[in-house]
Symmetry: C2
Subunit: 239 residues, 2 copies
């Protein structure tokens, strides 16, 4: 059965964490909203008053009749099916906990450029965004990166992995997190990366996985831009 | 085995979503950080460099050696064990998706009073908070409440439940969400509650569950206050 991923076209966004897992597993999937008529299908699923619970927002995944919403929930669901999660229950729960911390971090990264409201333009909350970016760079960025670095250090021998000795979806998400932060805060990241050698090593290691490498070079990989979560506004980066 | 819940003392906070499930199930649990020496034990678990992954932040649950982090992950873990989740996998995944939307909403509610940074005092981000509260009351509050109301309407016949015909942890969390919003935004909630009759009915229904009723009247239930997620600042409420 083909997995159907539903996510906005035009930005990597939260859908990208799911895409990376599907790509690394070589899974059969459709990126529905990027195909003809796909946006209409996505909106129809979200708005229907028939059937069961509908997603609050994309991304969501359809596997046959089952609809799985929220990126972390999708990765929990796909992890064992795609061989990208620990095999034991304790490991799967721990992986999901890490992914939920990534989720929280991603929300904070988004809110740096949208501290007042998602419905307002960036230009209409620019002063607040500058103030928030300062707090983000000084406190939140080192807090989250330091946390993930410590988890890698605890686990690490040889190849870098968040959990155990094999690749999981958490590693793929941490790869993308570093990619996004480098895009959005190039000066800040250049300054702090030496403090996080294992995150940097993990990023390089994932980038060289044959399937990920092919994916990154393909048209399926969307570029970061100023419509997504990770946005480059020079005034929000380190001076 | 006694479940050990770890969460800050003094506020209901994110720990409350877990407490309500433990209380409704009559589970044997310890609220560790509220007992003598408990704060030190909580911090020791978070800071250790021994063993596996540590939580990014409370709440977390210990069940024997297993540490489960993030409220939604804890509820996913406890749901089937406490009889507060659907029995089939599809139902459990759907319940978790709803809980993750509650998680997102709770984060937005928190950020109304802390739009610039969690480390700054409210007084130092009061102007930004006023602006964000306006956007929250006009757009985010109706968007989230409308979403949850529609899910209840789809499911509802007789007793109100988010999923199927029985009580789940999602119902308990929706109860608490309404309680918190009433505390933080009394004027706004008085104005909009008629639009959400099923959420209001579910709240009343949960409040009368014998174990929840006893819990709410006990010293174990902490009062809302201006250190937590749901804070009452009149200037952020509807005029």
């Amino acid at each position: 059965m083909t997995y159907e991923l539903y996510y906005w076209d035009g930005i990597p966004g939260r859908g990208e964490f799911v895409r990376l897992a599907l790509e690394q597993a070589g899974a059969d999937y459709a990126d529905v909203a990027r195909n003809d008529g796909g946006m209409a299908r996505m909106m129809a699923i979200m708005k229907t008053m028939m059937g069961g619970v509908t997603p609050f927002a994309p991304p969501f995944l359809k596997d046959g009749e089952l609809v799985v919403s929220h990126a972390a929930n999708i990765l929990l669901y796909l992890g064992s099916r795609l061989g990208l999660a620990p095999e034991d229950e304790a490991g799967r729960i721990t992986a999901h906990g890490l992914q939920l911390s990534i989720t929280d971090f991603v929300a904070e990264i988004h809110d740096v450029h949208h501290p007042i409201g998602v419905s307002l333009y960036y230009e209409d909350q620019n002063d607040e965004a500058r103030r928030r970016s300062e707090n983000f760079r000084e406190e939140r960025l080192p807090k989250f990166l330091g946390y993930f670095e410590r988890q890698l250090r605890k686990n690490g021998q040889g190849q870098v992995h968040a959990l155990g000795a094999t690749l999981t979806y958490v590693d793929l998400s941490l790869f993308h997190l570093i990619e996004g932060l480098r895009y959005a805060f190039p000066a800040a990241m250049t300054a702090v990366e030496p403090d996080y050698p294992l995150l940097v090593a993990l990023n390089a290691q994932v980038r060289e996985l044959p399937r990920i490498k092919a994916y990154l070079a393909s048209a399926r990989r969307l570029a970061f831009n100023e419509q997504g979560i990770f946005r480059y506004y020079p005034e929000l980066d380190r001076r």
